[in-house]
Subunit: 316 residues, 2 copies
């Protein structure tokens, strides 16, 4: 039995780009696009749409900016019904850079926002909607923002935002099934005219389990990345999600090939996945930035010390 | 809030021993015992009690046999309230080898059984109970055996078996939260006088999530292994379980040290964890033995071919 409304979004290149400054080469990105297209994945998020006046294109790769022409080089000649998505952060995009959807290879723009920035996120989402894009708002760091401000933000989105879906983003990998269930039910209750999405991080090996939990409680937009690639602990592995879903339109085999040929070799060069400091960050409901810094230092395996430093932070 | 009845059992040496023919050296096993003792873990399962007339002590290490004197060398001089458990398989133990509990360092004997062998398992468990041991029956491969035979077995255990707990063992890493919930509820309904336990395998990164699910539905005996070590995909990581449980008796820090000092170096020598052929076995509800054979072969990264071979097995 499957639920036809479920949409799967691959964010391999977008979230994976957070590990390598968005420097995937075009060949790799085409391979991802080929594989997710052949697997029947609904959307592929190919990167961020950031303003070049804010970020240097010398420092960051193509997928930090996602020029339309660059995207066309990726999709050209590949048979696909997979739609292209890009992510924008509040305050980091020049709205005038974004052409009308009818002139762009991009189908969907996802606005990532903290609860405190929700007014700006709604403004941006509506702007892109009016330009003809599918839109979502993705509420980050939700494990920290579960109070009345979240509820107000959701009411405001329901009333004002022209978005198809609103995502629960477990940025810190801190949610358990019960918190996921609670949040999905809260979102469903308030967002009567929108779909609910879920984007997990895998710090505690719960990204897939929480994604299933979200599906059980009627979230319909699900994010995954191939082999779980993504910042720090990474994301819900797309292959597990495709293996779980019963919709006959999905085919896991092209994803398996992509892992064999691309992701396993890549994992030997850059690090993501189940690594103890990321697990500790998740347990403590902390941003992984301190753990990421630790992994770049000589003390990368000093887990106890890292744990103590989070438990007993030095107060200036 | 915590539930005082929850018991945590570490099976690092027992399940991990399935990767290296039970050849951990005594220094390593003492380090595990020190760490789990200092962390407040309730039980440490140190290996199998197998008959030396069935298995060669040249081929297998000490933890395949778990002689009382060998165990004493491990526990000697270490302050601990952690109890020692051993596992026995139906048909592989010489009952006369097992001394009365009062003469042994072992506190608990866990009988691993398939549904079809449940009569033998009950006989064995009762034999050990009468010798003074705590006992459990661990029902393996439960994702394959969910029919009326399982229900009959549970009724029989409830009526005849002198055991403290009965475990759901997800040998194939095939359970999802909904199947876990269903099984825990079934066990609880029939086993009115016993506790329910859960032992997960991590093929689909769901061992921890399913363990939480089992806890939610009132299972009280939980298995984990340090850094998730165990056959093939491994088990529920003990550190995540300890991080999740709120019982103040647990301390994660000695486990973190053990991972830094012992498990990370060990993982560079022997393989376990999230590896695609094990994930495929889990999705397909298959024993991991074919995937384990693949990982020893030149085609170890040929995931598609392996997937096809499970989907379309050659019939003799």
């Amino acid at each position: 039995m499957y639920r036809e409304q479920i949409k799967v979004l691959d964010c391999t290149v977008r979230d994976g780009g957070l590990i390598n400054n968005h420097n995937f080469d075009q060949r790799f990105v085409r391979e991802v696009y080929k594989a997710v297209s052949a697997s029947g994945v609904d959307y592929m998020e190919i990167g961020y749409k950031n303003s070049k006046s804010l970020f240097s294109s010398k420092e960051f790769g193509l997928w930090k900016f996602c020029d339309d022409d660059v995207i066309r080089k990726i999709t050209e000649g590949i048979e696909s019904s997979t739609k292209i998505a890009v992510m924008v952060d509040v305050g980091r995009v020049d709205l005038d850079d974004v052409k009308p959807a009818s002139e762009s290879p991009v189908d969907m723009i996802r606005v990532a926002s903290y609860v405190k920035d929700i007014d700006k996120a709604i403004f941006m989402a509506n702007h892109f909607f009016d330009k003809g894009y599918e839109t979502t708002i993705n509420i980050m760091a939700i494990s920290r923002d579960q109070g009345t401000e979240l509820e107000e933000a959701l009411h405001q989105i329901e009333q004002e935002a022209k978005v198809g879906a609103v995502y629960i983003v477990d940025s810190f990998g801190a949610l358990y099934q019960e918190t996921t269930e609670h949040l999905v039910k809260l979102f469903k209750k308030i967002l009567k005219t929108k779909e609910v999405g879920f984007h997990g991080h895998n710090n505690q090996q719960l990204a897939f389990g929480n994604t299933i939990e979200a599906i059980i409680h009627d979230a319909n937009y699900m994010d995954g990345t191939v082999y779980g690639i993504g910042r720090a602990a990474g994301n819900c592995p797309l292959e597990l999600l495709i293996g779980f879903l019963k919709n006959p339109k999905f085919d896991i085999r092209p994803i398996l090939d992509l892992i064999s040929n691309e992701l396993v070799p890549l994992r030997n060069k850059i690090e993501w996945g189940y690594i103890i400091p990321y697990a500790i960050s998740g347990m403590m409901n902390e941003h992984p930035r301190l753990a990421m810094a630790l992994r770049q230092s000589a003390g990368k395996e000093n887990y106890r010390e890292f744990y103590e430093s989070l438990m007993n932070p030095e107060l200036d």
